[in-house]
């Protein structure tokens, strides 16, 4: 009897934590999304799909969705392309490439808040490093974080700077798994560099690309910290992301119903993206022997 229970006892603590803090909350969010509540009142009346309707009729929601989508669509491919290119340059085990890998990876383990603060200084209008550089080559100042058309690009830049090293490390792992045979064969056939990259490297690291695409899209749609520190969604909503809106609605306005509806919509969106991706790209991932 005890013997049969053994594996259950070992997995119980983990599953209990996962149940309480991950799975039950998904159901709770769905339940709260069809109710009206402000954290305090004793009742939570059922309001049907009103919270969803309110969101879908608000400019705030569509703005946040558009800004988040732009952020993801620009920054994910940018990260992956840059990372794949740099990874192919850092494959050899020399001390230079080891130091470069370390330098590029360092931001990925550094606090996002600290990076946000440091880059707020880099891009600050009066004392920042960027405007000092512009000034030194005779160009006028730019109000990087106050200009609606510029601020989102600054955030994309900073996010790319931070995450790039992680992508590079994962790509290096993927590239090292390919092995030299195909490259040797291509060299015998006199394949040009660009050609080899397109025809051998890119298809063969597809499983890695797929893995990175999956996690970086989820990450991009959940970006919060860098925005909260650097722009708070401003100027004029130009960098307002979905999770920043979720935080504001839930924890500043205490509108639990609408906040939960927003969380559920974002959840459905991410699941849908995951399914589409596995349909479209999943088929191309079977190069691995």
């Amino acid at each position: 009897m005890l013997r049969r229970m053994t594996p259950y006892l070992f997995v119980l603590p983990l599953l209990a934590f996962i149940a309480v803090f991950t799975y039950v909350p998904i159901v709770q969010s769905m339940n709260l999304s069809v109710r009206e509540w402000d954290f305090l009142s004793p009742t939570k009346p059922f309001v049907g799909l009103d919270n969803y309707r309110l969101l879908l009729d608000s400019r705030e929601f569509w703005n946040a969705l558009r800004v988040t989508a732009v952020f993801a669509i620009i920054s994910v491919p940018l990260r992956l392309l840059l990372a794949l290119f740099i990874a192919t340059q850092l494959l050899r085990e020399t001390w230079v490439s080891r130091i470069m890998r370390g330098a590029l990876f360092l931001p990925a383990v550094t606090s996002t808040v600290a990076i946000g603060v440091v880059f707020s200084w880099v891009f600050s209008t009066d004392y920042g490093m960027m405007n000092a550089l512009l000034k030194s080559i005779g160009l006028p100042k730019i109000a990087w974080l106050q200009e609606p058309h510029v601020a989102l690009w600054v955030l994309i830049f900073v996010n790319t700077w931070k995450q790039l090293g992680y992508d590079i490390i994962i790509y290096i792992a993927g590239l090292q798994a390919i092995g030299p045979e195909l490259y040797d064969a291509a060299a015998v056939d006199g394949g040009r560099k660009g050609h080899v990259f397109r025809r051998i490297t890119v298809p063969l690291v597809m499983p890695t690309t797929y893995f990175l695409l999956m996690i970086s899209v989820i990450e991009a749609f959940q970006v919060f910290t860098i925005v909260d520190v650097m722009t708070k969604g401003g100027p004029a909503g130009a960098t307002d992301m979905l999770v920043n809106m979720l935080y504001r609605v839930g924890f500043n306005l205490f509108d639990i119903g609408v906040g939960s509806a927003l969380a559920v919509l974002l959840f459905i969106l991410l699941i849908t993206l995951a399914v589409i991706k596995s349909r479209v790209i999943g088929r191309k991932v079977h190069y691995e022997a």
Binding site: V24, V96, W121
Partner: protein
């Protein structure tokens, strides 16, 4: 292999320095007086750190961060290792389903748990406590998955030998599996510690009391206290930022290879 070209090496190192220059300069700035910074001269001082640690309470935030990240790492590793052992070594009714439920958490965006977890902890009276910071961060599907893959690579004959000698499963885990999984456990420990150290949104939600702020919350508050950038005391803010990132940078330099290897193992398996 041909020796690396010194010109290329030099250029690569310069590019690396340029890449890290904002962070390096922020550390340099934290040792400058505010006057020197704004007038563009050089004047070394430790006063920014004294101010941050003393008046702005960053010693306390540092302690809070160490306690919270330490507890999450220790408990998280214990819970994940036990589960990984069972999933690697036993086939039991529902084991595939349960393992699937663990792996699926990797795909579940964490924002959907934000409001419900806040409510759960409020109901339990755990907001504004260390427990409120630690408990929701314990379960780590990635660590459990990663350790299970690693443990499957350890020959079963070693377990069998220990069982022959009359060892209990717990003893096999403690005496055989854990010692042999040390590299994987170390990598995961680092990964959990760093993620928790840098966690921002959950402490922001769960903590209102100033004396329970973690470094991330303390730094964000210090920076945001005076909006309008003319009033920001940049050298002071950079000292606080340096306190926040330095433990991770020092740790990173010490164990960089473990960490990167851990990340790579996780990606390929």
């Amino acid at each position: 292999m041909k020796p690396s070209n010194p010109l290329i090496s030099g250029l690569a190192l310069a590019a690396g320095l340029l890449f890290l220059s904002p962070v390096l300069y922020s550390i340099w700035m934290s040792f400058q007086t505010a006057d020197a910074y704004y007038t563009g001269t050089i004047d070394f001082t430790l006063s920014n750190f004294e101010l941050a640690i003393g008046q702005y309470n960053f010693a306390r935030y540092l302690l809070n961060s160490i306690i919270v990240s330490g507890l999450v790492t220790l408990i998280g590793l214990a819970v994940a290792t036990c589960a990984a052992f069972a999933f690697a070594r036993y086939t039991f009714r529902g084991s595939n389903l349960l393992f699937g439920a663990v792996v699926a958490t990797l795909m579940i965006p964490s924002h959907i748990t934000l409001i419900p977890n806040y409510l759960t902890l409020a109901k339990a009276g755990l907001l504004d406590t260390y427990a409120g910071l630690v408990l929701p961060a314990i379960s780590n599907g990635f660590a459990a998955f990663f350790l299970r893959q690693y443990i499957r690579g350890i020959p079963r004959a070693l377990d069998e030998a220990a069982y022959m000698d009359g060892a209990s499963p717990l003893k096999v885990l403690w005496r055989v599996i854990i010692p042999l999984s040390k590299p994987a456990i170390l990598s995961m420990g680092l990964y959990i510690f760093i993620s928790e150290w840098n966690n921002y949104i959950w402490p922001l939600v769960a903590i209102g009391r100033e004396d329970l702020y973690t470094l991330q919350i303390g730094l964000a508050r210090l920076y945001r206290v005076n909006p309008g950038e003319d009033i920001i005391n940049w050298p002071l803010v950079m000292a606080a930022s340096t306190i926040t990132i330095l433990p991770v940078i020092v740790g990173f330099v010490l164990v960089e290879r473990h960490l990167i290897r851990g990340m790579m193992m996780g990606a390929v398996k």
